[in-house]
Structure formats: structure tokens, C-alpha cells
Symmetry: C2
Subunit: 282 residues, 2 copies
């Protein structure tokens, strides 16, 4: 199986429309139809059910979509990491660390300081992204290491070390009556009239249906909360974000959040090993 075929199939499987998929791939529709047919013949499997009006995935098709994405990520990672390794030979053998924008900022600062203080430390580029994007960046080689937050982020397929564990707090507009309480329960927060929990985008960039306002990062979220349009449940460390319009109340029964440092298995560069060592020493 060639990566070209995989890319074609993934495009069609995501669009469920040969014309749009062809457009996205920058080719005409007929060669795309042929390529998919040929792929099906070679696999001996029907991947798509097409009745000239709608296209749907078969069982085998969804397996290939999932596995094919992973395989394409692995190929992309091979490409990028090789390029980086070639650059490293001439100059800058840096690391790329990715984390959610607005999360674990003091932990990250401490980590970067601790690592920079080590002899022979490499430069660390910090990449901020929305929630759910980190796994992707780590898998396809755009990042070398990530700070993830269980149970929100999945650590499946990565090596990890736990860095810290913390409870969660309710984040409310400062004027809200509940801010006077010493503590709350999840049930108090999930159904606040007029203060829905926000919706975060999924891995594909689209927002799930629901009542809350769509939100891309923590800055947006804080602003919406200060405006009295949303509430949130966040790790305790978000309290370091001082904002007069926002108050936090401890939650007794929210799941604890574990911050972990994660990296792709088998990647054992000296720089990465040093960063991980610095992290576990924190």
C-alpha cells in the first residue's frame, strides 16, 4: 500500500464525497475514483458503500480510516524528524514542546528554567495549541514532547512521566451568588442556569452540539466567564490567573487532573532525555 493511496482514501473517507475529496487533494475526480477502486481490489475489501447519491464507510473502511491516519502520521513523523536530524547536524538540535495554551504555565516555566540551567541544554521551542491537538502534533513529528492533562488528554501510545496532580475548581463570574460558598459539587456547576460549560473543538476542529458557547482557548474562556456567559471546571493551578471579574470555588467531587510529560516511544535523543530528567526532578 502506498501513502498516496492512503492519503486519497482518508480524504474520501473524511469528506464522504469524491468530488470534494478530489478538490482537496488537488486532482480530478476520475483518477480518485479509480485509485479507490484499485485499493479496494488489492485489499479484497469494500471500503465505501456508494449508491451514486451518498457515500458511506463500511466496517473495513472505518478500520482503514483509523489505521491509515496513524500510518500517515508515522510517515509524516519520519519525514519531519529526518529533516530535523539533518538540520541538527549543521546547527540547532532543539526540541519542540507542545502544550495547551493557558494551561500549566507556572509548571512549564519552572520546567524550562530547570532544564535551561543544565549544562549542555538544547533550545526548547514552545508550541501552544488548542486542546486535543497535542497528540496529533506529537504523533506526526511536529513536536518532540508534550505536557498533557489526564484524564482530558489521552496518553495512549506515548511514554509518560507524571509531574503533578491537582484538584479542580469551579470558575465563575465574580458576581455570581455561588462564589460565596466555601466549596461546591459537580452537580452544582453542571446545570447552572445561564452559565453553561463551554464547548471545546474536537480533534477534527468542529464543535459538538450543545448549549455552551464554543471556545478555542483559555483567554476566550476567561473573557466569557467574566462577562457572565459561561462557567468552567478547571485545575486548581488556573487560580494563578488573577482576574477581577472571575472567582474560583473548590470542587469536592471533581476528578483530579494529572499533568504528565509525554513523548513518542523509542525517541531517545540526548536533549529529550535531559528535559525529561529535569521534569521528573521538579
Amino acid at each position: 500500500m502506498e501513502t498516496r493511496e492512503l492519503r486519497y482514501f482518508v480524504a474520501v473517507a473524511e469528506e464522504l464525497h469524491f468530488g470534494r475529496a478530489a478538490q482537496r487533494l488537488g486532482i480530478a475526480q476520475p483518477p480518485l475514483s479509480r485509485a479507490i477502486r484499485q485499493l479496494e481490489r488489492r485489499l479484497g475489501a469494500t471500503l465505501l458503500e456508494r449508491n451514486s447519491r451518498t457515500v458511506t464507510l463500511t466496517e473495513a473502511g472505518s478500520v482503514l480510516l483509523r489505521e491509515g491516519r496513524a500510518a500517515l502520521d508515522a510517515v509524516d513523523a519520519a519525514d519531519r524528524r529526518t529533516r530535523r536530524a539533518a538540520l541538527a547536524a549543521t546547527g540547532n538540535p532543539g526540541l519542540v514542546l507542545v502544550t495547551k495554551a493557558g494551561a500549566s504555565s507556572e509548571l512549564l516555566a519552572k520546567l524550562l528554567d530547570a532544564y535551561a540551567a543544565e549544562p549542555g541544554a538544547a533550545t526548547v521551542d514552545v508550541l501552544l495549541c488548542g486542546p486535543g491537538e497535542q497528540e496529533r502534533l506529537l504523533r506526526d513529528g511536529r513536536a518532540d514532547v508534550a505536557l498533557l492533562h489526564r484524564p482530558y488528554d489521552s496518553t495512549a501510545g506515548f511514554d509518560t512521566e507524571e509531574l503533578s496532580t491537582e484538584g479542580q475548581v469551579a470558575v465563575l463570574p465574580a458576581a455570581h451568588p455561588l462564589t460565596g460558598r466555601a466549596h461546591l459539587r459537580m452537580a452544582d456547576v453542571t446545570a447552572l442556569p445561564g452559565l453553561p460549560l463551554p464547548r471545546w473543538p474536537g480533534p477534527d476542529g468542529t464543535y459538538p452540539d450543545g448549549p455552551g458557547p464554543p471556545v478555542r482557548d483559555h483567554a476566550q474562556l476567561y473573557q466569557l466567564i467574566a462577562l457572565g456567559r459561561a462557567s468552567a471546571v478547571l485545575p486548581e493551578s488556573c487560580r494563578s490567573h488573577r482576574d477581577p471579574g472571575i472567582a474560583t470555588v473548590p470542587l469536592l467531587d471533581a476528578p483530579t487532573v494529572t499533568t504528565v510529560i509525554a513523548w513518542p516511544p523509542h525517541s531517545r535523543s540526548r536533549a529529550l532525555a535531559g528535559l525529561i530528567r529535569a521534569a521528573v526532578r521538579l
Copy 2:
């Protein structure tokens, strides 16, 4: 990057010889040379240092060898799992479980019994292989789930659940004087005159240099021990293998061995989930 190019590069990087690599790939040498050059041009990296007499890997080349193997495994896995999914639609949605030949046999028997007793259990094919091969089989889709033994096997990149932990024992010929002792230490066993520890093949199928006899599976090993030609350090459960020519003595300071059930992340078939559930209940 196309998988064809990756296959070509991996072949050359493993053989370090264009002629042999071309033969292995079933093509002539000139197209292979061209393909590698083109790959290097596109990556903007020198992968191989060649001086018309010897070929060596550059730093970037070893990165691409490691990452490329992983990517090819992922592509192979996509291929195989899609084929299996297509077959499953027509008939047999079975699982393939891989474990080291001769290890954890009673645990495996209990697991298979427990799972088979569940309603709606799928058929489980058991694949036995040499040590170090399991990770490969799991990564490239030839197996769905494995029993691994830490710290001997690496679980990097897989999801795992611990099943059991046990100490290790020295395995000696029955006639050996040390068999009378109540217990031993590692130092007593590693340097036994005339009874070297065996050599297991590495992931590439070749044997490391050393004194011990090369060994492919546990049956061979037991035979060599009974013949007085080798000794071994194995998990306690190997005592279930009763053999009059063989005796075991507890080791006080050997690392404990943890048997884990491991599967590729993101693979969540109903059958696999059931097997894992049965395993953790044991």
C-alpha cells in the same frame, strides 16, 4: 514520502550495500541508487555516506531508519487490519494473541478459559514466537494482543494491564551441586563455570556475541540445561514445567518479572475489550 521509497531506504540501510539491497527488493541496482538519491534530495539531507567501497549511515539516516521502520509497520498494520475487518464482516472476527513460546502457559490457559466462558466470546488464535518478536507482530498488525514480560520485553507504545508479578529462580541441571541450596544470589549464577547463560536472538534474528549457547525457545533451553550445558534465570512459574533433569533454586536478588497484557493503542474492538476485561479479572 512514499512507502516504496521508505522500503528501499530501509533495505539499503540494513544491508549497507546497494547491490544486496537491490537483490533483496527484487529490482536492479541503478534504480535503487537513483531512488535513494532522489529521497535525499527531497529531504534535503544526506542519509548515507558512500565512498564506493563502504556505505555508512549518517545521523539523519539512522533517524530515518528507526522512524521509517515504525512507519512501514504502521502501514502494514493498516493493510492487515483492514483485510481482517473485511473478513470479519463475512465470518470470523477472531483475535490473534501472541506470546513467547514456553512462557506463562498456565496463565494463558486460565485466560483463554475465562474468556471463552464469556457470552459472545470470539475465537482466539494463539501465535507463539521467540522473545523480542512480539512487539513487532503487535505493531505491524499480525497480532492483536500480546502477553509481555517486563522488564525483558519493552511495552513502549502499547497500552497495557498488569496481570501478575513473580520472582525468578535459577534453573540448573538436577545434578548440579548448587541445587541443594535453599536459595541463591544472581552473582552465584552469572558466572557458573561451564554453565553459561544462553544467548537469545535480537530483534533482527542475529545472536549477540558471548559465551553461552544460542537458543531459540524454551524447549531448546530446557534440553541444554538438562544436558548440563547451560543454566538460566527464569520466572517462578517455569517450575510448572516438570523435568527430571532440571532443578530450580529461588533467587533472592533477581528482578521481579511482571506479566502484562498489551495491545496497540486506539484499537478498541469489542472482542479485544472482552479479552482484556477477562484478563484483569483473573
